[in-house]
């Protein structure tokens, strides 16, 4: 599972060789560790107005040193103040006020000046408004332009730095819990492998955790496919963040399921999720043992790859049954139940294959694209009762499954992104944990890619 | 101390004789008799051998209990008393004036009355003599009687009568009986136990009993005496059956066994023990029979009964 190449070129003579040969130079990403500072250096906040103030005060509260660019009191702490100035931990670009394409120039160029000062695994985060068909064409153009800027800038960043954006719906202000929550997520090591992506905050719903290191305190979460790989990482991450986890996997995977369950002090539920009554069983277990259910993570999935020309019904049907139909049936059971409280967060695991397509994976891509459609539709239904439905779409993640890909193919696959490396299961888990939290209650119907800005797809 | 049997001269032995020495002497005598064809005697020695100051050997008794599957209690098993006292009888058989050759004698029956419990630390006196010389269709039989008493007590604690057959030896004046020993048909009952007797069984019992008769020790030594293979000691099988009757028999009882087909080692022997109770349900006796698991030939049968 370890990417030895990344370790090799990250230090010592391996780094020198890679540099001279012009080889990809992935770095070891800054990942979240409880207790570690949110950022490796001060944050440069580009922009002014109430939104910037709201962000500045949040940053300060998080113990981040804030430097301002374009603030009324003017450049008291410019990043180029001295050669000895510490590298920037983040550049935060406040763009929600722009009305015309021309408005982009000043703040974006100012941010550009600071990019060289960005620390390894630093962050660029844009805050802007979501373009919509209701917007004036110029407004829409300016807003949509932000996406191009951010995605391109993300590809220019080096040394593990990432660029991501937060899109605000029309009536959402920057001090909305989910805006602040998303900002913290994108700045932190939790988003290490999220790059070139946007999170859309659609409402002011949500609540920031009293302890940012325990955002899921007291929550009851179900994770399917939790016995190993990404599922086990999700269970561990949710538990670390304070949730009581019900770990679901097929009975045959029970041994590792029990091991993970005991590790995270949760309960194991051996269940084939394609059973007709899987949803009822999950609900019965969660409500029976813990009194309620707050989070459902649909992670279980299988692959049965074949070119479509060679595909048989068994391969096709089993993938659809596990990856999509089971989620639909379970969601239906959950949504149909009275016992469920408000604020259910459903997070599904999609895949970049579902978004971009992948040779030999028509069945898998159908299921994973289907998840996207399901999530958007489910989000609308859940909104009425204060719940959310989102998906994460992992790119190349270092798992037992990808370890089985032939070496050369694997090497190419894991370098085909801006971070020039594969992600870790934990990276996917962190994104899910964020979307499962109440801080993300204003975010629904989103598909968040965890792919290091993979070259394929959207 | 009153004499247990009248009309016999008491011969005091200084200590319990060694069986192996007796066997060596017997072999020597046998050789001499082969050469000299000593005139056959037709009467038994008018002597009763007496050994005083006999005490069980706790180590030997423990080894005996281990081998036979007896619970290690302080009271000596009836079979152990036999091994302790029987050399006195052997010394009678080894006498010059004993009319039958000691070597090659076949143990036909053994009958024990265990009348008073004997503890491992009891001081004992042993008497032994031969009686009832009689004809048998296959030769001549004789009974060797051994009595064991607690020192200073006239009451017999243990009495054993071992019937031996000198095969092919016919003595003048000793009547051959008619065909009274008719063989009854034996069809094996359901076994209650199975013994898997290894080829070491003879050597192991020899080690705890002191009975180093070569026919029990190895197939080589047994072949030297005309046996196909070594055979288990009859008293081993009888003692093991006794042990397996279990605690219901108590400390005192009678124990009779008749030996039939020899147990060639190694062997699988089936055993059936039948407990017979009085009307009130108390144990009266146990009948046992052992047979070859493959051929179904009967090896032994007997009874252990309440006194």
């Amino acid at each position: 599972m370890t990417d030895t190449y990344t370790a090799f070129v990250s230090r010592g003579w391996g780094r020198d060789i890679a540099k001279r040969l012009g080889l990809p130079q992935p770095v070891e990403l800054r990942r979240y560790r409880p207790g570690a500072p949110l950022l490796p250096g001060p944050a440069l906040l580009v922009g002014s107005g109430p939104s910037a103030e709201a962000v500045a005060s949040a940053l300060t509260e998080w113990g981040v040193e804030v430097r301002r660019e374009g603030a009324p009191d003017g450049g008291a702490s410019r990043p180029d103040d001295g050669a000895k100035a510490p590298k920037l931990g983040a550049i935060i670009l406040m763009l929600e006020g722009i009305e015309r394409p021309e408005d982009l120039s000043a703040p974006v160029l100012a941010a550009g000046q600071a990019v060289r000062s960005l620390a390894p695994s630093g962050r660029v985060v844009t805050l802007s408004r979501r373009a919509s068909t209701q917007d004036e064409p110029a407004v829409a153009a300016a807003r949509q332009g932000v996406e191009g800027i951010l995605r391109s800038l993300a590809k220019e960043l080096r040394a593990g730095a990432t660029g991501n954006g937060i899109l605000l719906a029309e009536d959402v202000t920057a001090d909305a819990p989910s805006v602040i929550g998303a900002l913290r997520f994108l700045l932190s090591g939790r988003s290490a492998f999220v790059d070139g992506q946007f999170l859309t905050v659609g409402s002011s719903a949500g609540e920031l955790p009293s302890d940012p290191e325990r955002p899921l305190e007291g929550k009851i979460a179900v994770v399917t496919g939790a016995a190993r790989g990404i599922g086990a990482a999700i269970a561990r991450t949710l538990a670390r963040d304070g949730a009581k986890v019900v770990l679901v996997d097929v009975p045959a995977a029970g041994e590792s399921l029990a091991k993970v369950a005991n590790e995270v002090r949760g309960t194991a539920l051996q269940l084939d999720i394609t059973r007709q009554d899987a949803g009822e069983r999950i609900l019965a277990h969660a409500v029976g043992r813990y009194g309620r259910l707050d989070v459902v993570v649909h992670n279980a999935g299988i692959t049965r790859d074949k070119l479509l020309a060679n595909m048989d019904a068994a391969r096709w049907d089993s993938v659809i049954a596990v990856n999509l139909a089971a989620q639909l049936r379970i969601n239906e059971a959950l949504l149909g139940s009275d016992g469920l409280g408000e604020g259910l967060h459903i997070v599904s695991v999609s895949s970049t294959s579902g978004l971009a397509g992948n040779r030999g994976q028509t069945n898998y891509a159908a299921s994973k694209a289907g998840v996207v459609g399901m999530v958007r539709s489910t989000a609308a239904r859940l909104a009425a009762r204060g719940g959310t439905a989102n998906a994460v779409a992992p790119g190349f993640i270092e798992t037992e499954m990808t370890a089985r890909i032939p070496f050369a193919t694997r090497e190419v696959a894991r370098r085909l992104n801006s971070l020039q490396q594969g992600g870790q299961p934990q990276d996917v888990a962190e994104a899910i944990a964020f979307l499962a939290s109440d801080a993300a209650a204003g975010i629904t119907g989103n598909i968040l890619r965890v792919c290091g800005q993979n070259l394929v797809g959207q | 101390m009153t004499a247990p049997v009248s009309g016999l001269e008491t011969v005091e032995l200084p200590e319990m004789p060694s069986l192996s020495r007796l066997y060596v002497a017997a072999a020597r005598d046998a050789a001499r008799k082969l050469v000299g064809r000593a005139s056959a005697r037709v009467s038994l020695p008018r002597a009763r051998h007496h050994v005083a100051g006999v005490r069980p050997d706790l180590v030997k008794m423990t080894e005996y209990q281990t081998l036979l599957g007896e619970t290690k209690r302080d009271v000596a098993p009836a079979g152990y008393v036999h091994t302790l006292a029987f050399p006195a009888a052997m010394s009678v058989m080894g006498r010059e004036d004993f009319p039958l050759p000691l070597l090659g004698m076949v143990h036909l029956r053994n009958s024990v009355e265990y009348l008073l419990p004997i503890r491992y630390d009891d001081l004992l006196e042993v008497w032994a003599w031969a009686e009832n010389l009689a004809g048998h269709r296959a030769g001549t039989q004789v009974e060797l009687v051994v009595e064991v008493r607690h020192a200073g007590n006239d009451d017999v604690a243990w009495r054993g009568t071992s019937t031996y057959l000198a095969k092919g030896v016919y003595l003048p004046g000793v009547d051959k009986p008619g065909l009274n020993g008719q063989r009854d048909e034996f069809s094996p009952p359901a076994p209650t136990a199975l013994w898997r007797l290894a080829s070491e069984t003879g050597r192991e019992y020899a080690a705890v009993s002191g009975d180093f008769n070569p026919i029990h020790l190895s197939s080589i030594s047994a072949r030297a005496l005309g046996m196909r293979r070594s055979i288990a000691h009859g008293m081993y099988t009888a003692s093991r059956a006794l042990a397996e009757v279990g605690p219901q028999k108590g400390d005192t009882f009678t124990w009779d066994v008749a030996f039939e087909a020899p147990v060639f080692l190694p062997a699988r022997v089936c055993l059936s023990i039948t407990d017979i109770a009085d009307d009130d349900g108390t144990w009266a006796r146990s009948e046992f029979v052992g047979w070859n698991a493959s051929s179904g030939r009967r090896h032994f049968r007997g009874t252990i009964a309440r006194l």
Binding site: E255, G266 | P188, T192, I273
Partner: protein, 433 residues
Amino acid sequence: MSTLRKAVVVGGNRIPFARANGAYAMTSNQDMLTAALDGLVARFGLQDERIGEAAAGAVLKHSRDFNLTREAVLGSALSPETPAYDVQQACATGLETVLGLADKIKLGRIESAVAGGVDSASDAPIVVSEGLRHAVLELNGAKTVQQKLKALSRLRPKDVTPVAPGTNEPRTGLSMGEHQALTTAQWDISREAQDELALASHRNLADAYGRGFFDDLITPYRGLARDSNLRPDTSMDKLGSLKTVFGRQLGDKATMTAGNSTPLTDGASSVLLASEEWAESRDLPILADVVDGEAAAVDFVHGKDGLLMAPVFAVPRLLGRLGLTFEDIDYFEIHEAFAGTVLCHLAAWEDEEFCRERLGLDGAFGKVDRAKLNVNGSSLAAGHPFAATGGRIVATLAKQLHERGSVGGRPARGLISVCAAGGLGVAAVLEAR
């Protein structure tokens, strides 16, 4: 009884049972018991619970496992502050741990308990001969080289040969199968009847797997997700083609084959027991009440009764005490040591003369409705890791009872009986919650 509180079955967990020298060939009793406990902890979220007491045992046990259950607890996800003790009652070990711990709960001594059992026929203890043992002991005590040489000089080649444990009865030298063959012949049980029972066991177990019944009763182990002895596709023809293995001296009357006898098996099981308050306060399920239990023994040594016939005596005593008859029982879990064992039990309970003379009843005790017998399979199909069987049965029955709920306005009721070496038998009654 009325003053006692209730002891309930919360649930159970076992590892799939593996035929000896199969999937668990290299795992020890402690390994397997630990795995069973870990699965139980995971199922019920007991990671931070100090359990009142854990009791388990093994029939074939290494001397190093003198504290087997406690060691397994320490190696498991259970709280290390959970006290534990070993129980050993041959094949009844598992059921006896349940009954003993349930009594402690009923008396109020403990609030929660884990009962269980494990056995490995693959990792059976091999002991050294008495001769070697004595020589080693003497060698340890020897001080001079001479003494040491003397101790060694006593060794004979055969002393160095290790001794494998047998499943022979110590007092009779007959294997359990040979004993049962005698009883089977005595009760005139046909080969066909035995094969039919074996077939039903395999079918019932396979059906139970098929409907996911074991999803929350079993945690896979070492790549095994199902009992490896299970043959879902077996048939009367296949069973009928097997050669007899026990009672060959009976000739034509020999009926017992590898198909209608249990194989040597490795496996472990566990059951979570609790007071009602404890289970309720933790939102844990309550599957069944442990109502009562009874042990019996028969004098088999000289053949008065068959070695495995003790349950025939235990069951009427138990049901008699509870004022119940077979009519009041909805599920019969009669451990299938051999198909012949179960059928001899049924025959004895139906035999007027036997019931009058040996059980002291007015007439036949009753007839077991075969549709209620071992409905989720039993040892013939699942295998029989001796001490683990009781836990398997208790957890399986408790879940079955809970699913059934009530019968005619009263809780569904199940009877368990387990025969064991040494002429032992233990029976128990559970009631649905």
